[in-house]
Symmetry: C2
Subunit: 129 residues, 2 copies
DNA sequence: TTTGACCTTCCAGTCTCTAGAAGGTTTATA
DNA sequence: TATAAACCTTCTAGAGACTGGAAGGTCAAA
């Protein structure tokens, strides 16, 4: 099948499929006489795997590792769990950082009149007058 | 003062100060005979303003707007508050996205033995068998 | 046959820096 | 005074993960 249909079935835009191929995340598919890429079902499965992993926030490098583990019958579930734990830890530290920002911003915002007057605690805090 | 000291006082790396200048976030400072950049106190204040805004997650474009508002005596606090609210909304949607990822990952991870066996609900979910 | 929807490659841009190269200047020490 | 160390300069390229656009080839239907 053409890249357009592969895109629809996998949920990955055609451009991104080509990009994934260019960085080696996806193997180069067969080509038709026209030069068009020609995908088959197992390749679509791989794309869906990639798409789900990306939706869970795994970096491309991690997705690559997950694909390797997926294809390795000698993998241990400990390996997968360790990779996932690392990722969870990263997500949680990002959440904490964002929550801290949000708390500061909400506190400042609540103190700001938000009317026609120029005085504003948000700017004052940034300038730390 | 030299860029090194400006960097220490503002908390912004020298390289980043030059980068901010190159994109017009910071005005080009005076130069000494040697060609070295020569900063004075008000410029450090601007840098600190920028650094605090960046630490609160404002994008460069937003920092630029905040600087303009800071320097505009005819600004209204409503303008600042609106910009801040936009930013808070963005942060909250990122937090929600990350929390949703984390919840899924934790659920899957909890079901994974994490031992020497190869079977793993995390991979199974990604492959959606 | 021609139109429109596909497909191809390649280059550039996004965002916010950061590393490194190659070289000039200043300061401190031997 | 010589020289080494610590600064500073500009420039280019790379990170991560795409996305847009240009210029052109292919295919299916009217």
């Amino acid at each position: 099948m053409n890249i357009g249909q592969a895109s629809e079935l996998s949920g990955i835009p055609s451009k991104t499929i080509r990009y994934y191929e260019s960085i080696g995340l996806l193997p180069a598919p067969a080509r038709k006489d026209s030069g068009y890429r020609d995908y088959s079902t197992p390749e679509i499965e791989t794309m869906r795997f990639i798409q789900r992993a990306r939706n869970l926030g795994f970096a491309i490098k991690d997705v690559n590792e997950l694909l390797d583990l997926w294809n390795d019958t000698h993998r241990t579930s400990a390996q997968v769990k360790a990779l996932t734990k690392r990722h969870i830890d990263e997500i949680e530290s990002k959440i904490n950082e964002l929550e801290s920002m949000r708390n500061t911003l909400v506190t400042l915002s609540d103190k700001c009149h938000g009317d026609d007057r120029p005085d504003c605690p948000i700017l004052e805090d940034l300038a730390s007058l």
